[in-house]
């Protein structure tokens, strides 16, 4: 079964441990500039949103690549760059709607999330579970449950308010 990263940004504390372990896992160094995941921050409002690759079905990065360097992993379903073929034109970077295809000036290479080959380290280290690794077809179910919870809490609150009036 294909699994994906499910991000619930509301839970994110903004600690950036995910960025750290991502770069250590892939490159053996600490450097967020090499991380496949990046936490976008609105510090003045206390809002943090981790952003990573969506492993799109009809993937723009794969479609745009002029030398067909991007392909899908048969088993795990993520998209991966073959550096033997890649010419570093960065068309994929330009076209990705999420900014999830990165380019690093240190090795002059594009790079993206590869789900750590099936054991995503960001998921493993994020104690607050802002990132989870779930079956692709279950994502909406989790979201439904979350939303339902909020709805019922709101209803309970409303009822309590009415009773108090």
């Amino acid at each position: 079964m294909e699994k994906v990263l499910m991000i619930n940004y509301q839970k994110c504390t903004g600690c950036r441990l995910c960025e750290l372990v991502c770069s250590v896992m892939h490159d053996g160094v600490s450097n967020p500039a090499r991380s496949r995941i990046k936490v976008m921050k609105w510090e003045a409002e206390g809002l943090y949103v981790p952003m990573s690759c969506q492993q799109c079905e009809d993937a723009p990065c794969m479609n745009v690549c002029p030398v067909k360097a991007i392909s899908r992993d048969e088993d795990l379903g993520f998209l991966t760059v073959d550096y033997d073929i890649c010419i570093g034109c960065r068309s994929c970077v330009a076209v990705c709607p999420f900014g999830a295809m990165n380019y690093n000036i240190i090795d002059k290479k594009v790079f993206k999330c590869d789900l750590c080959g099936g054991d995503p380290q960001c998921v493993r280290f994020c104690e607050v579970k802002a990132i989870e690794y779930v079956d692709a077809d279950r994502v909406s179910n989790y979201k439904k449950k979350d939303a339902a919870e909020r709805l019922s809490a709101a209803q309970k609150e409303g009822a309590a308010l009415q009773a108090a009036m």
């Binding site: 509301q10 839970k11 994110c12 504390t13 903004g14 600690c15 950036r16 441990l17 750290l20 372990v21 250590v24 896992m25 490159d27 053996g28 160094v29 600490s30 450097n31 967020p32 500039a33 090499r34 510090e43 003045a44 409002e45 206390g46 943090y48 000036i105 240190i106 380290q121 493993r124 280290f125 104690e127 607050v128």
Partner: protein, 646 residues
């Protein structure tokens, strides 16, 4: 590699910048962070230098582990001669500044001189530039950070900045980064202000090679599990440090009304649960945040719920803001705590010191030592929330006679106010005490009396002394990594064996500060958290440095002795009420009036305290006056200071 991070010497008078590597022998003697800062401070300042003069050195650093694959290594350290105490100035902050400094290629900055006009320092991937700060001078701490990002066009820049309090040379102004992270104590922001230095902005994308990445990653996971499984950290992660204030208040260990009482009564509106409620109401169910790579996330997010500042976003309030704007001035309204916390964060001033100074003034006012004339008509009584917040403004902007006087700090203010005002100042070495009461806990009293930066809980507090742990457990902790078979007591009211606990904690916290780790990740509030035996692995996997627990202990001891040497050089004397290792007379003469049965009626026994202090010196191999003996200095390799290795 962490070990290839450099030191930069920056002279703001001449504009000269020199960049040097950190030799391995220096690492092996002082590791990094606070320890190496102490060495640099002792070596780069002259005896008796003016804290606000160009000769004072402001030292900024990251820990040796900062931004490596280890847990909670976000800490930045700041050192200089303190304008508040005229002794060691030293402060530590979390956030995201220190990791960025390390990614930018540096571990230590030594800033001397004084710029002619306001400037800020811009550090980017190994390069350093001094830039004009005319446009940002006058701005609040957060506006300063956003303005620098705008000017340089990079949203990922992290800055350590001062606010108006630092510019106005309030002697307890702090240095801040982000919304809340503060290097709070000893007036490091005032030193920045005196150098016309508004900010240090950093941005880095340079690799820090991890010596053994696979092992580092696995060990980090284990480390984090150890840290997050501690109950105290789980509570920190939901209620933040207000939970400590609440717990301490319930048994009678906080200061109220400038130390007249040890418990704040009818404080429901500022209990941790109430604070948490406001945070949840204004920021939703997930409202905790934290520092770089930390899984404790002890900081709450909130918006001021009501009043003139309603809707303003901030983080905290932590233990100290609850003390400063709640318990201590006996103002028991959540709104005041949230508002006060926001003001100090924006103005860049130490919440602890300003809260204590105002409460001291309140007692002086109620005693008639300060009059309506002195306060310009302000009714500065305990419990007057508006007067409290008004005084924050007056101090930070040095408005009116009293605001200006208090902004100078406790000792000069006591001299200016005169009468017997000094007797009511709850300070050690010129710095006010945390809003806690140590009369029922001799170990904690010894800790604040001997802390190297003046009254302080983060230098050597054996907080676990309050948990009544079985002696066996205490012995396991306190007889490692070096053997100890003297007395230890599980009873917090005892004096026996406490000097050893304080001595051990002093080395433990120094080690943590050299490594760059947050204290919630060691034996501070939790007995099961990592300590000496765990650090060699983290150090080895991340930096390749091989060190035994004993060697890390020795380094910590060496660095504590460096701080001692600095303080002695600047005039520390054992029994000096203003510059010594002793306490305000109230600790000895006034028993606790409130609290649990084991607290009520307690005060510190002067004779026993002195014996404890003797023992503390003996553990250090210092003489009766607290001066390291030549033999001790020789053993630690400090007999040639200043030795100018870097």
């Amino acid at each position: 590699m962490a070990l290839n991070r450099k030191i930069a010497y920056i002279d703001l008078s001449t504009g000269d910048i020199e960049i040097k590597p950190i030799p391995l022998e220096v690492r092996k003697k002082f590791l990094g962070g606070r320890g190496l800062d102490a060495y640099l401070l002792l070596n780069h300042t002259e005896k008796g230098c003016d804290p606000l003069g160009p000769g004072n050195a402001l030292i900024i650093s990251a820990g040796i582990l900062t931004a490596t694959c280890a847990s909670a290594t976000a800490r930045a350290h700041f050192m200089a001669k303190s304008p508040l105490t005229n002794l060691l100035g030293s402060a530590n902050m979390g956030g995201f500044f220190a990791p960025e400094l390390a990614w930018a290629g540096f571990h230590h900055l030594v800033i001397k001189g004084k710029a002619e006009k306001p400037v800020y320092i811009w550090i980017h991937n190994g390069e350093i530039e001094i830039r004009d700060a005319g446009q940002i001078w006058g701005k609040t701490t957060t506006d300063t950070q956003w303005a620098i990002r705008d000017e340089l066009g990079d949203e990922d820049i992290k800055s350590a900045v001062i606010g108006p309090a630092g510019e106005n040379l309030v002697t307890f102004a702090n240095i801040m980064t982000g919304i809340k992270n503060s290097a709070g104590r000893t007036g490091m922001g005032c030193v920045m202000g005196s150098k016309n230095l508004k900010a240090v902005a950093v941005r880095g994308t340079m690799d820090i090679e991890i010596a053994h990445p696979v092992e580092a990653l696995e060990y980090n996971k284990q480390f984090i599990d150890q840290i997050t499984s501690a109950k105290v950290n789980q509570t920190q992660g939901t209620l933040g440090t207000p939970f400590i204030w609440g717990a301490t208040n319930s048994w009678g260990g906080v200061r109220t009304r400038n130390f007249q009482y040890n418990q704040c009564e009818d404080a429901d509106d500022i209990e941790p649960e109430r604070i948490d409620e406001v945070c949840e109401e204004t920021m939703g169910p997930y409202h905790m945040t934290g520092c770089f790579a930390c899984q404790v996330h002890c900081r709450a997010q909130y918006k001021v719920p009501s009043g003139p500042l309603a809707g303003k976003y901030d983080e905290g309030p932590e233990y100290t803001s609850l003390g400063a704007f709640g318990g201590e001035p006996d103002c028991k309204n959540a709104e005041t705590v949230f508002a006060g916390n926001h003001l100090v964060d924006q103005y860049g001033v130490d919440n602890l010191e300003i809260g204590s100074m105002i409460s001291w003034a309140m007692e002086l006012y109620e005693l008639g030592i300060l009059t309506n004339k002195d306060t310009d008509g302000l009714d500065l009584k305990f419990g007057n929330d508006e007067a409290l917040l008004e005084m924050v403004e007056r101090i930070c902007f040095r408005k009116g006679w009293l605001g200006d006087t208090l902004a100078d700090g406790g000792l000069p203010a006591a001299e200016k106010i005169g009468k017997n005002s000094f007797d009511y100042l709850i300070q050690v070495k010129g710095m006010n005490n945390l809003h806690s009461d140590e009369r029922g806990t001799p170990a904690l009293a010894l800790n604040i009396a001997t802390a190297s930066r003046g009254s302080d809980h983060l230098r050597s507090r054996p907080a676990i002394d309050l948990y009544h742990l079985p002696e066996k457990v205490l012995r396991k902790i306190y007889s490692n990594p070096i053997p100890y078979d003297g007395p230890l007591s599980s009873e917090h009211t005892d004096y026996e064996g406490k000097a050893w606990e304080v001595y051990w904690q002093e080395n433990c916290y120094m080690a943590v500060d050299c490594l760059g780790i947050c204290k919630y990740h060691t034996v501070f509030l939790g007995a099961t958290l990592p300590n000496f035996e765990d650090w060699p692995k983290v150090l080895y996997y991340n930096t390749g440095l091989e060190m035994s627990p004993e060697e890390i202990w020795d380094i910590a001891e060496r660095c504590n002795n460096l701080e001692r040497l600095f303080n002695l050089r600047e005039g520390l004397k054992r029994d000096d009420l203003k510059k010594g290792d002793t306490l305000n007379h109230r600790y000895f003469d006034e028993p606790c009036r409130r609290g649990a049965p084991d607290i009520i009626g307690m005060s510190i026994d002067r004779k026993k305290f002195n014996k404890m202090l003797d023992e503390f010196y003996e553990h250090h191999n210092w003489d009766k006056n607290g001066v390291p003996t030549p033999k001790t200095l020789k053993r630690l390799g400090l007999d040639q200071e200043p030795s100018h290795l870097v």
